[in-house]
């Protein structure tokens, strides 16, 4: 995938390093990672705890700064952006799904879904909004507050919130981590369909081999470096690969 020049790239990292502490005590969360995330594909990042998978995603998504190297969203070098421009970039071009659903408790489901667009001061494409809402099956719960929704429903609101603005790229951090397996499958199916049907780009960090099997490609990180990748993954193959880390 790293050599696939025919595919356009949604985001990439070049020689990305992230170091915590200095000298003897320095911890290299990212030790020079170069990676492309192709457009209209579903990429999963896996690795044992402390491998740097979350750090990689956070740095590419502009939530954290690299110690050295650069990260790009499309052609924009985000390591050069100011804090404010970074916020605007996230608002206009990125979407996020978290393990903790992270909805604003005082806003209704509809308002939470529309939050990024409200912040940008733009209107939703009504047709697209309806499509997304019906896809995630929330039609009759739009007027409810998050506290009146189940965990699965809350996560579906969070997915819809990421999808509705049609961002260049959606970053998902353990999106099914807090859900039972049936609801988890539902959410992953939505994400898969978004990639297949509308060409949405998704980058997902997970430690669940089953979740990773929904991706086009799985990247494996260990000690801050990409050590392997797997195209067309299945849950069993991913699990086998993961077992090798523990060995």
């Amino acid at each position: 995938m790293t050599t696939a020049e025919a595919t356009r790239v949604a985001a990439r990292a070049v020689e990305a390093r992230k170091t915590y502490g200095t000298g003897e005590a320095a911890v290299h969360a990212l030790a020079g990672v170069t990676v492309d995330f192709p457009q209209a594909e579903f990429t999963a990042i896996m690795g044992p705890s402390g491998s740097g998978k979350s750090t990689l995603m956070q740095c590419v998504a502009g939530l954290d700064r690299l110690t050295s190297g650069s990260a790009f969203i499309g052609e924009t070098d985000i390591s050069e952006l100011s804090k404010n421009d970074l916020t605007l970039l996230r608002r206009d071009r990125l979407g996020f799904i978290f393990q903790q659903y992270n909805l604003i408790p005082s806003l209704t489901a509809r308002e939470n879904i529309l939050l990024p667009l409200t912040l940008a001061g733009t209107k939703a494409d009504q047709e697209w909004f309806d499509t997304v809402v019906s896809t995630v099956n929330l039609g009759d719960r739009l007027g409810n507050l998050p506290s009146q929704l189940s965990g699965g429903q809350q996560q579906r609101v969070a997915v819809a919130r990421a999808l509705v603005p049609r961002p260049d790229i959606i970053f998902a951090d353990e999106p099914t981590g807090a859900l039972d397996s049936r609801t988890g499958i539902e959410i992953l199916t939505f994400m898969r369909r978004a990639v297949d049907d509308t060409g949405q780009t998704i980058v997902m960090v997970t430690h669940d081999p089953h979740a990773a099997s929904y991706a086009n490609e799985v990247l494996f990180l260990e000690d801050g470096q990409i050590v392997d990748s797997m195209e067309a993954p299945t849950a069993d193959r991913v699990l086998d690969r993961m077992k090798r880390f523990e060995g």
Binding site: T87, D92, N102, S106, L107
Partner: protein
Amino acid sequence: MLTLVLSSVRHNLGRYLATLVAIITGVGFYTAVGFISDRVIDSFEGDVDTQYGAVSVAVIPDDSLEVDNATATDGQLRVPQRAVDALLDLPGIDGGAGIVTGTVGFLGDDGAAFASNTTGRLWVTDEELNPLTVEDGEAPTGTGEIAVDQGLAEDEGFAVGDEVTLLTLAGPEPVTIVGITSFGNSDAIDSSGTVSISPDDAFDWLNDGHTSYETYYLRGSDAEADLVDEAQDVVPAGFQAQSGDDFRADQRQSAGSFGKVLKQGLQAFAILALLVGGFVIYNTFSVIVAQRLRELAVLAAIGATPRQLKRSLRTEGLVIGVVGSVLGVVAGFALTLLLDLALRITGGSLPGSATTIGVANVLGGLLLGTIITVLSVMIPARRAARTEPIEAMRDAAVESNVLSRTRGLIALALVLLGLAGMAFGGGLWTIGGGILAFMAGLFVGAPHLAKGGARLARPLLSRFGLEGRLAVDNSIRNPKRTATTSNALLIGVFLVTLVGVAGTSMKDFAVGEINKLQSADYIVTSTGGSVDDDLIAQFEEVPDVEQVVPFRREPVLVGGEVMPISSGDVDAIADVSDIKVEVGSLDDLGPGTIALLDLGQADAPWVGDTVSVEDTDGQRSDLTVVALLEPSLDAAQAGSIVDQATFEDLVGDVAPTVAFIDVASGAQSETKRDIEDIADLRPDITVQPGNAIGQLVGTIFDFIIKAVTGLLLMSVIIALIGIINTMSLSILERRRELGLLRIIGMTDAKVRRMVTLESVLISLLGTLSGLIAGLVVSVLLVLSINRLSTASVTPSIPVLELVLILVAGVLLGVLAALVPARRSTKLAVLDAVAAT
């Protein structure tokens, strides 16, 4: 458990910061006020010993003959030399000192008067009784010699040997400064400076040539009681002999009572500030309990009893209370030293020589701070004790914005009860109880008010965009906390409004009533001198002066009471002044008759009755009452009126000492200045504008309103700390949410604006409810006064001040948000994704 408490305090120190600041501010203010007042009290009481330490018997005006202030004039009874001679002849008396004072001034080479309000004093030759110490040069013993006090010498650049011109009642006199004096630890006895004058000149210059004294002090070696008994027989009419001990005790009390009243008043404000601080403490601990629910639940799960949980919180409160109070006492002492230093730098000084650390003040501060803290922690501690172990398993603390209906009903009932009490109450208890019930209702119902207020504000704040909308929603997520925060501000604003509205209404009423009582434009009084023809001519030359009416006045005993009697051109006096006859007629005034001032006493003589009038020498005449004069300010100046012959018969042929001046209506301020300029060159002359008392009362009211408002600022500052505290704590609680908003694209500026808007909302809530409560209570109070008395006070609403308070409320909100808003965007956005 104590280890747990201490480690918890250490870990949460940041959260306790606001609590500590609130306690320190209140306790610091309390102790500083105590230290300074004690110093003032000590110094005043110390002065008494310096001044009267050697006095065995004091011959002073008889208090029981004192009339109320409306009729008291500067005309005092005096101790004549005859009486003094008799007193000094008594066996066992070793010496004496008479007090003679008068106003003096200095005439510069340029012909202008300066230091023209200085007190001239007869130099006391008896060394033991003399309160002054000669610091430089020598005592003024010969004619033309004076001594000035250190302060005056420093201010005016006087030195021993200087030849200056002293303005006295007898006119300008060339004098030589022969000495510089001090008084105990201070410069002078008199606040405006002391000039000591030798016995050769003092009576001429200060007392119009009469050898008589205001008071007389005796020194003797026998027992004070015996000396008093002896003196009693020779004391002149209107005077009494008091033993030195009693006299000093009285003096000490009257000197110290000012300081004591000051101390109590100021400390009341400090306690109020501390009570407001109680809200801050309560809020902090409520938040801490909510945030620590999981930790408390774990403790409960592993076997901590509710009692232990409660005690751990209370102990935490105790630790914070003690630490805050100790720091507060230290801050209070530092504040005192700082104030002293600041005063010294600007050329002033606190009275007294040194600040002593009074044990009572320190203990009082420590106890107050600690008790209020522990009391404020009671309710949060009870909440902690109710923690169920199951809460350890639950997700983050759930905020509840559900308010019970009972609370609303209780609040409503209290408010209605309070309003009824204030509107229909017939006495202090019902009205006071009404105010308390009304305020209690407001406090109980405050969460409902917060919710309702936020709902009302929603359309307005939504105009600011999403952040405005979220600010409103956040503020009512925990309406109780919002309410407690704004309640702290409510108290201060309520009191400021109450004092402003009720005070202004009373002031306007009082000033109006007083001004109704007087019509003469100026009253000229000579102390010790006379209003002579030359002076009258000078006044008459001033443009716009229409009439100058001089009259003679002398204090005498009328029917056993000290009262001035006056005599002059009765028609002219009645013409320019407000003297009105109630019964009888001034036309009947002739030899052997009197127009008596009606003091409103039930047993007062009536027209046709006879009253006995006695002068200081004990000479008596019986006069027939021909008229009763209505009491007014002008009438009080004149007292009772007799005709010229009767006056001369009683007092002697003396010059007039008082005059009413009538000025054309619409006269300019130049007229006033011209009149005052003439008076300035005559130390004995004082000019009072006719509305002076009204102005004075108005000024006093204004001063009290301003002073009280200023003191209430202390509680407003603590309320400000409360808002900062609440905002900071809720930002910590919501950091996940704030992180999310920023991740999905809310700019830092908007996040800060959201925090600021919430803060403004809280502070406006407190300001507005305080303002409205203050208005309601003060208007009802004024109406109650009207209902229960014959007065008709119009409620005056100082609109400008109220608008200013409102604007200040908004600014306060913005100010309180400064720190929390900055902190809100300092948190890492990644907090949102970090699973807790």
